[in-house]
Each structure stands twice: as C-alpha cells, then as structure tokens.
Amino acid sequence: MSSDSGGMDLTIEELEEMSRRCRINIVKMTHEAGAGHPGGSLSAIDLIVALYGTKLRIDCDNADWLDRDRFIMSKGHASPAVYSILHEVGYLSESDLMSFRKLGSVCQGHVDMKWTDGVDFSAGSLGMGLSFGLGCSLAAKMDGSDRTIWVMVGDGEVQEGEVWEAAMAADFHTAGNLKLIIDRNGIQNDDFVNVQMEVGDVASKFTSFGWEVLEIDGHSMVEIVDALDWATTIDSGPCAIVANTVKGKGVSFMEGNPAFHGMAPDDDELRVALEELS
C-alpha cells in the first residue's frame, strides 16, 4: 500500500472485515508460536485497523520515509495485532506471521523497529512509547512537517510513571500532532486492573494534564473512525482517545479472561476460535 493522503479509503464494512481477518491471524500466530499475547491484541485490533485503514500516511515501498505518520505501539506485547495489520498493508507475508517468536523471525515477541519494516518503535517495556512519540512529535514540529504521531498504550500501562512524565511534557510543549489511543480493556498481566491497582477515570486524569480527551466504544468501528477524525482536528495540544474495549474481543472464551493476556490457544481452542471468527 502506498498512500500520500493517509489511510486506505475503506468503508466501515471493509474495516470490520479487515479486523476479522486480523483476528484470525492473531489467534493463528499465537497458536503456532505456542506463546504470545492474544487478549490485548484482540482488544486493540479494531482501533489499529481503523487507524491504518483511514488515517495513517505510510509508504510500504519506503518504510523509512521521514514524513510518514508514525504508529508507536507502546503495549508491545500486543505485537500480533501489529503484525496482522502489517500483513494487511503489505509489509509482512503470511509465512512471516507464522514465524512469530521463532529464531530469526522478523516478527519478534515484542514489536521491534530494528527487526520489522513498518514498526516505528522498539517496545516490550511498558511506559516508554508516549515519551518516544513526544520525541517524534517535537522533531516533526522542528521540521515543519505535518506528519502525525499516533501512540497506543494499555490501561494497565498507565500505572507506569513515565506515561505521566510524558503527558505533562506533551501539554507543556503543545504537541498538537501527538495523538494517544488508550486501550482500556480492564485486564493486565496478573489480573483485572481494578484488582492489581485501579487506574480510575483515565479520561479525567488526562484532561487534568491539559489534554483533549474523547471516550468511545473501542469496538464500534463507526465510533472509532469518528474519534480518529476528531483527533486529527485537534492541533492546539495533545489529545487522547480512551477506548473502552474487551480483552480477547471476538473469541468467546478469551473475552474478559485474564488467563489469555499472555497465553496462546491450544489446538482445540484454536479450532473453536477460528469457527467463531469465520
């Protein structure tokens, strides 16, 4: 895919169909690897598909194009979601996806810009992506470039203090080209977020840090597309979309199940998952 204006000009139905294909690849690649993080990939994928499908200005023939938009996936364990969309837009082959987590694979366990064309950030340690995005944002402003910097974090991730260091700095430096998407799926590694350490009203917290904030249903493609449109109209400072999502969305036994934060489906589970997604 190559797009100067951004996105792929897809309809809502086409975006939903792309999400379904991505979900299938998420469960297939984690099953093949016998490891990985399907839950947070499935909660995030509708948001990611909408972003690539309607907004992101990239050039697959020139992955390092300086003026491309950035997608900084800070919750790097949800790498299957990123790899599935990079397959859709043409960066990765199906065999690349099935090599996930294997020795020498371009699909590392956590997204890594050194290993994968189309990946803009080396994640894996939570809390760092928003800071990195702010650096990209400030560089774009220095260059007078209209490239837009999109960052995704998880809701458990905002327990990391660095997120709030970055949030404060982004407001101070009026980073109007910086757009944050928060995947509010309510589950982190060990348990539900409200058991481990509730993060509370995330929208109000960002608002109090000077951000423009919109809260949406992160699985309604219509709401997501509208929210991305809204975000691109904000240029006076940073903005955040708090997307309420369901961990494991689309696979019944993974939905709302903390066990599938970091566990791959076995053979029987894969079969059921594929039936539900087909």
Partner: protein, 317 residues
Amino acid sequence: MSAPSLGGASRDGYGAGLLRIAEDPRVVVIEADLGKSTKSCHFRTKYPSKSFSLGIAEQNMMLVSAGMASSGKVPFASTFAIFTERAFEQVRNGIARPELTVHICGSHGGIHTGTDGSSAQSIEDLAIYRTIPGMTVLHPCDDLSAEELTVQLLDHVGPTYMRTARNKTLRVYDRDSVGDLSIGRGSVIRSGTDVCIIACGVMVSQALIAANDLADDGIHAAVVDMHTLKPLDKDLIDSMSASCGCFVTAEDHSVIGGLGGAVAEHLSTGITVPLEMVGVDDIFGQSGASSELMSSMGLTSEEIKHSAIKAISRKSG
C-alpha cells in the same frame, strides 16, 4: 608534556563543545532541569528553538531523545551521572536496543563531586553503561578534551554515554595536542618503560603527577588517558603490556566494572601481567571538600605511585 595547569571542569568542555556544533541542523539539546549544572544551558540560551526542557523527569528525557533520533535529529541529553542511572532501563531498551544515536552526558560523576555527598557521587555509571551492547562510553579528563570529544560525537553513529566532572581539574591537553584525540583510541600522554598507568577522568592529571614523582625515584612510567572505556583500545594495552610489563589503572569510580575492570577483562584473556587498580573500593562516599574526600578514599597521585611500585615488584623475573 609540561606540568599540568588548572583549567575548567570537564562539564565546561561539554557546554563549549555543544556551542561548536550548534549550527548543525540535526543537533538538539535535551535537559531535565540541570542544564546550568551540565552546562548545556549555554546552548539553550543561544538556541532556544533547538533546546527542550523536560523537567525533572529523566525517564521521559531518554525516550524523547530516542524519538527525536528516530526522526533524524542528533540529541544531546544531559543530567547528573547519577540521575541517568534512574533511567538505565530506558537507555538500555529505548535507546541502545534499537541502536539509536543519542548522546547522553552525565555530569558530576565520581567522588570528585564533593560536598553534595554520596547521593550525587555516581561511582558505578561507567560500569553499567559499559555492559550495554553497542554503547560507547567516554570519560574525558579535562575541559579541552571534553570539548573535543563532544564535537567528535556529532558524527559518531550509535548511542553514547559521556561522564563529565563537576569541579575544575588540572588541564592535561592544550589546544594543539587535544586535536589528536580520537574516540576509541587511548591517548599516550607520557612515555615510559617500567610501568603503564592507564587513567580516565580526573585521575589522569593525578597519574601525570605520580609519573613525575616516580621519575624522581628513577622509575619511568608511561601514562595513558583512556578517555574511551568502550570500545576499549585493546591494541594500545597490548602494546603497553609489551613495553612496560605491568599496569596501574586509576579512576574516580568503583574498581568493580569500570576502567580497572575493563583492563583486567582484556589482560586476563592474553598474556597476563601485573595490574593494580586505584579507584573506589566498593564503598559509598560522603560530603566533604573534593580534595579531602579524594584523599580519604585513596584517589590520589600518592596512591597511584605506591600502586606502580607494587605492580613493578610483581613482575616476574
């Protein structure tokens, strides 16, 4: 080389070096509230549009720098050496792992920092950054060499850490000799055949004083300014091993993992020769005037001299 005279602090050299490369459009300066201390403040005053203050938030500073580096900028980020350590994992995972060219400067390194006390006296920074793959680790000895190495960093590819010192030190180089420095190559600042003293940072001038004292006793000591701890100039060490037959290392840093550790690692894999280490002996510092504190912890020319005599006595044959 003539006896050293008092110059500025190496942190002053960092500030001066930044001004010399400021016109390059790629250069940006990142601060975490300590620009007046690290001396990046001069750049910020003169080039405000290329300077970014991020408050007292070192973790964010490291990743903002990484993001800028990924966007074609050459960031120079500075704070106290000790506070860079707060963001060690950010440096490791966010900068070094994706091989981004970010130049980190940690000022106020070592016991030499003095009265601020042990919370500000990083004695482990060189060791921890040396363990990161692909990271270049620098520790210049005076203001002029810090300035020169800062200028050279502009065209250096890959992440770097440079430690500077708070207080003024004896000047080892002059404007002519400093131009011979090169990142990754140790600098032989005094020749000799009985023992080789390899030093870095504020201990280089002490090594020269020790070498002068040793000469009074008829002992000819070579002195190397090992301003680059990583990559270590192994060829130079091998050459000095052949000509001198024993070593003393001298650093204002823990003897664990720093310059002494680096030299020991190399020597232990080849022809082993005696090595004595002068450094911080696995203890924290305290408040005190810099010179008194250095003396109390054995970071002196006298200690280097005694260690040299001991190393020579350990030579076989």
